[in-house]
């Protein structure tokens, strides 16, 4: 079966104040502001090709508005439209949005709004197309500056049902599961064409909850640099720098000024996944080590704190 989704295209996240949000997301995290339009701002990382990867929307609560998945080919959008019809999932066709063409929008069993799209403006990254240097010189020197958006972890009241939906309807493949005593997956790390440990992960929790969204950081050394910058700016760190057993990635969980959890995640070069290879499983007993490898138990905030 071919891959029909390339990656997490963008997430839209609610913030309580757009001015404060932009200060944090551009000056501390180091995202590039694409455009501010009314109550929304569109941002991207320096190494992303597409028009944007993060939308911040001023609101009276925190959390996720939507997550959008970009397909590999234009026809894949129609493919998923047919598939949603086949599974009797209600959906809407959104003809266009900011710098983006058609998308189909639907609610998942976990209560999240997902979109599937292909057409979007592709202005390129901050490097020239001809003979580029490896990184741009004009990044803010004391910002984290992650190169790309990585994944999102969301919560589901019935995670087993949500995992099945993502696998059957959206054709995500699993790299790792946490299974309960009956062998049912209660948490999953799912990937698409951009072979990496995960594009989407699901854990048990409230309807439509956002546990975090993540940016890639290439090396463990850069993760420590990110931690330095967080402390310099008095950013609340939730966990880390540390290591996940699941995905073998290293990361830091931290909060934006409104309580949305973000992760800088990477350093998982040891992780190689071959399509067709069996997913890794963790049990409820070993889940603590799976999530927080060095601590070997769940940090108290992991299953209770999210927006």
């Amino acid at each position: 079966m071919p891959f029909r989704i390339s990656r997490l295209g963008y997430v839209e996240v609610r913030v309580l104040d757009l001015d404060d949000a932009l200060d944090f997301y551009t000056n501390v995290l180091g995202l590039q502001l694409v455009e501010r339009a009314g109550k929304k701002a569109y941002l991207k990382t320096w190494d992303e090709q597409l028009a944007y990867s993060v939308i911040l929307t001023e609101s009276d609560s925190a959390g996720m508005v939507r997550a959008a998945w970009r397909t590999v080919d234009p026809e894949d959008v129609d493919y998923f439209e047919r598939k949603l019809r086949q599974y009797e999932v209600q959906y809407q066709v959104i003809p266009e949005d900011y710098k983006r063409g058609k998308a189909i929008s639907f609610k998942t069993p976990s209560g999240h709004t997902f979109e599937i799209f292909y057409e979007i403006e592709i202005p390129g990254n901050m490097l020239p197309k001809e003979s580029p240097d490896p990184w741009p010189r004009d990044l803010k020197f004391d910002a984290i500056n992650p190169p790309k958006i990585d994944h999102t972890l969301i919560t589901a009241p019935d995670p087993t049902k949500m995992i099945r939906f993502c696998e059957e309807v959206l054709e995500f493949r699993a790299t790792e599961y946490v299974v309960n005593s009956e062998g049912q997956p209660i948490a999953a790390w799912l990937y698409q064409a951009r072979q990496q440990p995960h594009d989407l992960a699901i854990v048990p929790g409230r309807e439509a909850g956002m546990h975090h969204f993540a940016f890639h950081i290439s090396s463990a050394q850069d993760i420590f640099r990110a931690a330095d910058i967080m402390v310099m700016n008095d950013v609340k760190i939730d966990w880390g720098p540390g290591r996940h057993g699941i995905t073998r990635g290293s990361g830091i969980y931290f909060f934006d000024p409104f309580g949305n959890r973000i992760e800088t995640f990477g350093g998982y070069t040891a992780y190689l996944f071959d399509p067709g290879a069996k997913p890794i499983t963790w049990t409820e007993e070993t889940m603590g080590k799976g999530v927080f490898y060095y601590e070997r138990k769940l940090v108290e905030t992991f299953l209770t704190v999210y927006t």
């Binding site: 609560s61 309580g259 949305n260 209770t304």
Partner: protein
């Protein structure tokens, strides 16, 4: 009020600690060695919701995690709420808060300090 600081009385632990000017209830509690439950500390996740008697400035919080109705009915998010007078607080379920170091010695120091 004591020396420009408000007193926060924690029930059912029945202990009192001081809050500095413009300090949140959570910061004051943690400084005093009282582990009030908390999460994001930015008003977004709602984990630090407590009951409060007395006037507080609620701060910038998620309306989903602390509704207007809850504000009127004596709830606040401790990570954002700043006392405007001496207040009384308790956890939402009425259980005692975990105290890390508010021992007799600390209480003695506290009494000494507040009696100055």
């Amino acid at each position: 009020m004591q020396n420009g600081k408000f007193k926060i009385h924690l029930l059912p632990n029945n202990i009192t600690f001081l809050c500095r000017e413009n300090e949140t209830i959570l910061d004051a509690a943690l400084r005093a060695g009282i582990e009030l439950p908390h999460g994001c500390t930015k008003g977004g996740c709602g984990v630090c919701k407590i009951k409060v008697k007395g006037k507080v400035e609620f701060g910038r919080v998620s309306k989903v995690m602390l509704t207007d109705e809850e504000k009127e009915n004596g709830f606040c998010l401790s990570c954002r709420a700043i006392p405007l007078e001496d207040i009384q607080i308790s956890l939402v379920d009425g259980s005692p808060a975990r105290v890390v170091r508010y021992d007799e010695f600390y209480s003695f120091l506290f009494k000494t300090r507040t009696n100055l």
